[in-house]
């Protein structure tokens, strides 16, 4: 029996070193159309579970804010759960929860996204509430005052009360200096405190319009009924002018070189953060950068882990991540030195690894492994109505091609070793980057 067991493992080895994966991914079926008022609708019917997810994606994020009014988009996300002409305060939550559903939302630099996940019997309710708050929201003092307090506590919870809590905002501010990507969605409490109700209403009227929204319905529903419902609820809203937006399509590629030591009273250990300006989400090189990231940092057989953590034992943890935005991106590396090693030593080891990939590229086996991991993740991420809805809306918004949900994997599979080396140079050859040394401080 042991021989049979080992024979199986020999087969495994052969597969991983020679053969590329070729998963048979079932296409995800969807329909999409534009309404006369400009709202884009995507429908994905799937009867595998008695659940429907609705996602309304508004093309407004923190990058659309006035620099003197940062945090508006995120604050507005909170206000959208308050009241409408036909829904009293707290009743939005009540209607969805008491129907067995769940509701939430998030705000990023580029988007504000609202979602409901409801039993399939309640899809009309979910659509009705979304239609209500799209154009019938009541922005009043009680809602604004309450949410001011809530958002301040959110900020403390996520940033101010945790070790290294400020690094991300600080990194963003340097990498995207002089652009609306320079601040994070949580924004400034002072800006929110000093804003008037009138300003919030203006923000709502500017961005919360059907022509600035994408609606996705995913799950166990009847297409004809849902189409009629959408038409009845959202159809009467007129088309609005295109919102004002800051010029972002020319976010500068150059950044100032920054090296800063931060004494963090909440930190117990030193930690290194390195940031690079990266590319936009729709840049053709984004696939190669994703694969490069996987090769460098995903799993314990990745380059950074194998070299710096396992072999040299200079760090106990090193990770490299990418965040793409509509018009730019950031790549960052985080390292924690092992006992007796310094942040300098970790930085030098990371730099040596970056140089190695720029000069020597990657092997066929490394690239194939990264493609296999990507393929498994691609398939694995398409589970659940909500996840599928989010992916559909992102493909439409950022690539103008919803069908990529079925074909994007091919773009990863076409990436070559030369592409990986080229994008490594494109990312890391820049002289200017942002480096933070966070050090524990006694206060």
């Amino acid at each position: 029996m042991l021989n049979a067991f080992k024979a199986g493992l020999v087969t495994v080895l052969a597969l991983t070193t020679v053969i590329a994966l070729n998963a048979q991914v079932k296409p995800l079926v969807f329909k999409e159309y534009d309404m006369p008022n400009g709202m884009h609708v995507i429908l994905h019917e799937d009867h595998s579970a008695p659940v429907v997810a609705t996602v309304v994606h508004y093309k407004v994020g923190s990058r659309d804010e006035d620099p003197k009014r940062t945090g508006f988009a995120h604050f507005f996300e909170h206000l959208m759960f308050e009241s409408t002409e036909m829904i009293e305060r707290h009743n939005m939550d009540k209607l969805i929860s008491s129907a067995g559903g769940q509701l939430n939302a998030y705000t990023s630099n580029d988007e504000t996204v609202y979602h409901f996940v409801v039993p399939s019997t309640e899809v009309r309710l979910a659509l009705w509430i979304e239609s209500q708050r799209m154009r019938k929201l009541q922005v009043n003092a009680i809602g604004v005052e309450t949410q001011r307090g809530v958002v301040k506590e959110e900020r403390k919870n996520r940033y101010d009360n945790v070790p290294y809590g400020g690094w991300y905002e600080k990194m963003q501010s340097y990498l995207f200096r002089d652009s609306p990507y320079a601040w994070s969605p949580i924004g400034s409490s002072q800006h929110i405190d000093s804003a008037s109700i009138h300003e919030f209403v203006d923000f709502y009227n500017e961005y919360y319009q059907p022509s600035n929204a994408i609606l996705v319905v995913s799950g166990d529903f009847d297409e004809q009924i849902v189409k009629e419902t959408i038409n009845a609820y959202f159809g009467p809203y007129p088309k609005a002018p295109e919102p004002r937006r800051p010029q972002l399509n020319r976010v500068s590629d150059s950044i100032a070189s920054v090296r800063e030591t931060v004494n963090d009273i909440k930190a117990r250990l030193p930690r290194l953060f390195i940031g690079y300006k990266s590319i936009s989400i729709s840049d053709a090189d984004s696939y190669a950068i994703d694969l490069l990231t996987t090769i460098m940092s995903q799993g314990e057989s990745s380059r950074l882990y194998k070299s710096i953590v396992d072999s040299q034992q200079i760090a106990v943890n090193v990770s490299l991540s990418n965040q793409f935005r509509e018009y730019a991106g950031m790549t960052f590396i985080i390292g924690i030195p092992s006992a007796g090693n310094s942040l300098d030593a970790v930085e030098q080891s990371i730099d040596a690894q970056l140089k190695e990939v720029m000069v020597g590229g990657v092997t066929d086996a490394e690239l194939q492994k990264a493609k296999n991991i990507t393929e498994a993740q691609f398939v694995g991420s398409r589970t659940g109505m909500y996840n599928k809805a989010l992916q559909l809306v992102s493909y439409y918004r950022y690539y103008h091609d919803t069908g990529l949900i079925n074909t994007e994997l091919d773009r990863y599979l076409k990436v070559t070793r030369e592409d990986i080396q080229r994008v490594a140079k494109r990312l890391f050859e820049k002289k200017n980057r942002v480096v933070f040394y966070y050090l524990p401080s006694k206060g």
């Binding site: 493992l9 991983t16 829904i87 707290h90 996520r158 070790p163 109505m385």
Partner: protein, 441 residues
């Protein structure tokens, strides 16, 4: 445009998915959630010995997490290369009660992935070099945890909820435990969890008979079950509090507990509805008062925590320092209210529908179903437990709930764990509990 909410009159359509059940030749139960058409398959091998069963504190966690760090047959690097080369994932871990190995892969690599998981479960190397790497990682993570306000509050809560019980210990032990861990400790812990009662759950586009044949082959050589995972019951220290001091905190984190019940207790369905009404979701009382009325917090929740040897009702929130005292008083008022007032039918219906909807929303995939199935197995419940639980939830009335409210929601039985600034939190704690201690981690 409809002027009122278009609420459905249809009842919720939910049925717990079918689970095929069989037994391997050595008696290990195998549960298979077959769902044709899934591109990804998962498995979990669960062993009923966790960190609470440690003889040497932290050894089970160390041994469980070391399983994927090299085997007798191959070094860690080679193991990682193979698993990641397949695009698969194998994770090994333990919680207080269970050690486990999980895997996920594309269908075409499921067999290879499970073979590798079996290899690491049965034949781990526990090599010195890998142990030292993991030791450093554990110590680093522990040092980071020790500055985390939520983690600190949980340690304080563990003190007052599980004083002297194995549940009080940290899962991975202290930094001193990690520093002195030897290979022999891991081998002992490994032998213990290998001989613990076990089961396997597989979910995806798989066939039960094929899975049975495969696991019979892969797990041949597993020692017979001889470990008894029974522990004494943990006793909550009523009317007491513990503060983990966090001198730089800008928020106070609270974990307030009261004695709860096991899942098969006749009061549990009612307790789930009551706890849900108090703080189970964003419409519930605590969230409404502390966040939506007072703006003190980003979130405030109540939930039942059910472990095999301890059950509590927990209230959890983090609030700005300046709101610490009023938050505790507000929670006390809400607990007193729920202990004494009949819940209005409308409020009960809201909670009931939310809970029932949760079953539908959290059973979209076979992997989610596997999670619920494991809950029934861990607690020795009948396979139809959740289906019956739903029926019981649907039947309960406000009059049924009131005696349960009075029985369990008693402020004088509070055990409060908190983290924050001493001068801010201690006076507030002393207003509500008799005994208060501080922890300096």
């Amino acid at each position: 445009m409809t002027a009122s909410p278009p609420l459905s009159k249809e009842s919720l359509k939910f049925r717990f998915p079918d689970v095929a059940e069989t037994v391997l030749d050595d008696g290990t139960p195998l549960y298979v959630i077959e769902k044709a058409g899934e591109d990804v398959a998962t498995f979990g091998i669960y062993l009923r010995a966790g960190s609470a069963h440690d003889v040497r504190a932290g050894a089970t966690a160390f041994a469980a997490e070391m399983l994927t760090r090299g085997t007798v047959d191959r070094a860690a690097e080679e193991f990682d290369e193979i698993v990641e080369g397949l695009g698969s994932s194998i994770r090994s871990t333990c919680d207080r009660d269970t050690s486990s190995v999980y895997g996920v892969s594309l269908n075409e690599h499921f067999e290879e992935t499970t073979r590798l998981a079996a290899e690491c479960l049965l034949r781990p190397a526990f090599g010195d070099r890998e142990m030292n790497t993991m030791r450093q990682q554990f110590i680093t993570e522990a040092q980071i945890d020790e500055k985390d306000p939520e983690w600190l509050a949980t340690q304080a809560s563990n003190r007052v909820c599980y004083r002297g019980h194995p549940y009080e210990r940290r899962r991975r032990g202290t930094i001193a435990d990690m520093s002195s861990m030897m290979q022999a400790d891991l081998i002992t812990a490994h032998q213990r969890f290998l001989s613990a009662p076990r089961c396997i759950i597989v979910a995806g586009s798989v066939n039960t008979n094929e899975m049975r044949a495969m696991f019979n082959e892969l797990l041949e050589g597993m020692p017979p079950v001889k470990f008894n995972p029974a522990l004494s019951r943990a006793q909550l220290s009523e009317n007491s509090g513990c503060l983990a001091v966090n001198a730089e905190a800008v928020q106070t984190a609270f974990r307030i507990s009261m004695p709860g019940v096991e899942l098969d207790n006749a009061d549990y369905p009612a307790l789930q509805l009551i706890t849900g009404t108090l703080g189970g979701y964003t419409l519930a009382r605590l969230f409404s008062v502390l966040r939506e009325q007072k703006g003190y917090t980003y979130g405030a929740y109540a939930m039942s925590s059910v472990r095999p040897w301890a059950q509590t009702i927990d209230i959890v929130t983090s609030v700005g320092n300046e709101f610490t005292a009023d938050t505790l008083q507000t929670i006390a008022d809400e607990v007193s209210r729920i202990a004494s007032e009949r819940i209005r039918i409308e409020e009960l219906e809201n909670t009931r529908q939310y809970i029932l909807g949760t079953f539908a929303r959290t059973n979209e995939t076979p992997q989610q179903t596997a999670g619920l199935l494991w809950t029934t197995l861990l607690h020795g419940l009948p396979r139809d437990f959740f289906q019956e639980h739903i029926v019981r939830i649907q039947r309960l009335t406000p009059d049924d709930l009131l005696p349960v409210q009075m029985r369990y929601f008693d402020k004088s039985r509070w055990a409060i764990g908190a983290s924050g600034i001493e001068d801010v939190v201690l006076p507030a704690l002393k207003m509500h509990v008799h005994e208060v201690e501080t922890m300096h981690i």
